[in-house]
Amino acid sequence: MRISTFREIRFHGRGGQGTVSAAALLALAAFEDHFESQAFPKFGSERRGAPVEAYVRISNTTIRAHNQVYTPDVVVIQDAGLLRSEPLLRGLRQGGLIVVNSEQEVDDVGNKNDHFRQVYLPASSIGERHLGRPLPNTVLLGALAAGTGWVSLIALEQAVTKHLSSKGEKMVTANIAALREGYGFVSSEKEPVS
C-alpha cells in the first residue's frame, strides 16, 4: 500500500526577507523530488518590514485545496522578533518542527507540553557571510531539509539553480553554499531532531 504523504509548512517573515521566495523554493524542490507541491503567499499591503506569511503543501497526490495552512507540520520563523508580536505557532501539530532564525534559543516558545522539536540557527549571519546581505532564506531551507528529510539537498540545489539563474552564477553559487551550511548545521547536531 502506498503511504500517504501530506505535509504543510508555514513561513513567517517580514517584507523584504524573501518569505514568498523561500516558500516557492521549497515547493520547487519538493516538485523536483517528484512530489505534488503548492506554494502561495498571504500578503498584507506589500511593505518592507511588515509581517508576511507564506505556505507550502507537499503531497504524493493532487493538491486541490487553495486554503491557507492552519495546522502546519513545520513553522519556519525568519525573524525571531515576530515571536513577540504574533502567535506564530498557532495550529502547529504535536511533534511538529520549529525552525527559527536566531543566534540563541528563545525562551517560552510555545507551551512546554506541546513537544515541538526546535531548531535554532543564526541564519542571518550565515546568510550574510555567503551573500553579503543578512538573508536567512536558503540557510533556513537547508536546515528544514536536514530537520525533516522531506526534500533532498540536491533538489533544493536544483531549485535554487533554476529560480535564481536570472540573477547570475555568483548568486546561485552563494545560495547553494548557504543551503549546504544550513543543512550541515542541523545534520551535525548531536541530538538528531527527527
Binding site: F31, A39, F40, R93
Partner: protein
C-alpha cells in the same frame, strides 16, 4: 511535462502560445504578474506583439477593441475597480461582437478598499455580454485561456477567463504547458471577417434606431445561448488533442446518488471536493457541482445535473446587496422554470479574501440556521481552528 508555475506565469505562457498581436493593459493587483510576464516576453522577442501600457483600464479596453477591428488577436487583463472602469467598453466590445479575450484576476470591489479575492468584480459585469469562464486551478486557467480564443473567434463574442486573485494568480502549482505546435494546431491564425480595411470602407459601431436596436440584442442573446454548445464542443476537442479537459459548462464531483449537492465557482471548489470526500467517508451522500461557465448561464444543463437532488446549496463569493446570492437566484429561476421545486440554500462567503476553509465548507454542508426571517441568503460562518483536526492526520504526516 509538468512544471511548478505561478498562476500568473502559467496564464501568461498560455497567452504567449496563442500569439496575440496586441497586448494592452493597465497594472492592478493581483493582475500585475500576468502583464509583467507578457511585457517581458515582448521585450525579449519571444512574443511578436505590440505591448501597450495604457493610461487607464478604459484605455486598455479601448485599445484591444480597436486592435480586433483591425484584425489583430488581442489580450488584456485586469481586476476589481479596473474591470469596472472598463465597463462601458466591455459592453461595446460585446455589442460589436468582437472576439477579445481577457483575464479577470478576481478581486473584491471597494469600498472598503480590499485587494483580495472574491467574485464581485466579474459578477457585476455579468450583463455586459461577455462569456465568463470561472477556473478552478492554474492548469485550468492556462487551458481555458487557449480555449477562450477558439470560443471567442468561433462565436464572435468576447471571453473573460475569471481566475481568483492571489489564490490562483500568486500560487505555485504543477502545470503542464502545451507545445507551440499543439496550440497552433488547435488555434489557427485569427481571421476576422469584419476587419476594417481602407480598400473596402465600412462603418463599425454606427448608431442604431429603435426599429433595429432590439434585433441586435436578439442576435447577441442567440449567439450567447449558442455559445453553450461551443464551450462544450471545444472543450471536448481540446481534451482529444491535449489529453485533459476543463469541465465544459460545469463539472460534477461525486454526483452519482448524491442527495446534497454544493454548487460553486472557482478555486474554492478544491476544498469543497475535500469536504465531499470527508462527508462520504462518514456515510453522507454529498456531492459538488462546479459551475465553470456562468455566462451564458447553462440553465438546462444545471437542471439536468440537479433534478434528482434533495438538497441544493449554492456557495458564492459575490453579493447583490439587498437581493442576496446571484448564482442562487438564477438557479432558483432555472429550477422553477423546469417545474422543480427543490429549495436552493444560498450562502455567501469568501468575500474580500475571507478564507473558505474545509471546516467552514463542512458547516455550510451541515446547514446554516436562518438569522433573520425573510432573508434569501445567509453568510458563511467564520473559520475556527479546531483542535480535533490537528490530531486527525497526525502520524502519517511524518515519513
Amino acid at each position: 511535462m509538468k512544471q511548478l508555475l505561478e498562476g500568473s506565469q502559467a496564464v501568461a505562457e498560455a497567452v504567449r502560445l496563442c500569439r496575440p498581436q496586441v497586448v494592452a493593459a493597465y497594472p492592478i493587483t493581483p493582475q500585475t504578474h500576468i502583464i509583467e510576464r507578457l511585457a517581458q516576453h515582448v521585450a525579449n522577442g519571444e512574443l511578436a506583439a505590440e505591448f501597450i501600457n495604457a493610461e487607464s483600464e478604459f484605455g486598455a479596453a479601448s485599445i484591444v477593441l480597436g486592435a480586433v477591428t483591425a484584425g489583430a488577436r488581442a489580450f488584456t487583463a485586469t481586476a476589481s475597480q479596473g474591470l469596472l472602469l472598463m465597463t462601458e467598453v466591455l459592453y461595446n466590445i460585446a455589442g460589436l461582437r468582437l472576439p477579445v479575450v481577457m483575464v479577470c484576476a478576481n478581486r473584491a470591489v471597494g469600498a472598503p478598499i480590499n485587494i483580495f479575492s472574491d467574485h464581485q468584480d466579474s459578477m457585476s459585469v455579468r450583463d455586459a455580454g461577455w462569456i465568463q469562464l470561472y477556473v478552478e486551478s492554474n492548469q485550468e486557467a492556462a487551458d481555458s485561456l487557449i480555449q477562450a480564443y477558439r470560443i471567442a473567434e468561433a462565436c464572435e463574442l468576447p471571453v473573460m477567463v475569471c481566475m481568483d486573485g492571489f489564490l490562483l494568480t500568486h500560487t505555485f502549482e504543477p502545470v503542464a504547458l502545451p507545445t507551440q505546435a499543439m496550440v497552433d494546431d488547435y488555434l489557427p491564425a485569427f481571421q476576422f471577417a469584419r476587419t476594417l480595411n481602407p480598400d473596402r470602407p465600412m462603418t463599425l459601431g454606427g448608431a442604431s434606431e429603435p426599429d433595429n436596436f432590439q434585433e441586435y440584442r436578439v442576435d447577441q442573446h442567440a449567439a450567447m445561448e449558442n455559445a453553450q454548445k461551443v464551450v462544450e464542443t471545444l472543450d471536448a476537442e481540446f481534451a482529444e488533442q491535449f489529453g485533459r479537459r476543463c469541465g465544459g459548462l460545469m463539472q460534477g464531483y461525486r454526483l452519482d446518488d448524491a442527495r446534497t449537492v454544493l454548487l460553486g465557482m472557482g478555486s474554492l471548489m478544491g476544498a469543497v471536493y475535500d469536504a465531499v470526500d470527508q462527508l462520504r467517508d462518514q456515510g453522507q451522500a454529498a456531492g459538488a457541482l462546479r459551475l465553470r461557465c456562468f455566462r451564458p448561464f447553462p440553465a438546462q444543463a444545471l437542471v439536468q445535473h440537479l433534478k434528482d437532488v434533495q438538497r441544493i446549496i449554492v456557495l458564492e463569493k459575490a453579493l447583490s446587496p439587498g437581493a442576496g446570492g446571484i448564482v442562487a437566484a438564477e438557479l432558483r429561476a432555472a429550477l422553477q422554470q423546469a417545474g422543480i421545486m427543490t429549495p436552493v440554500e444560498s450562502v455567501i462567503g469568501g468575500l474580500g479574501g475571507r478564507d473558505l476553509t474545509p471546516d467552514v465548507i463542512e458547516a455550510v454542508f451541515q446547514g446554516i440556521p436562518d438569522t433573520e426571517a425573510g432573508v434569501t441568503s445567509r453568510f458563511a460562518p467564520d473559520h475556527i481552528t479546531s483542535a480535533s483536526d490537528e490530531a486527525e492526520r497526525g502520524e502519517q504526516s511524518y515519513g
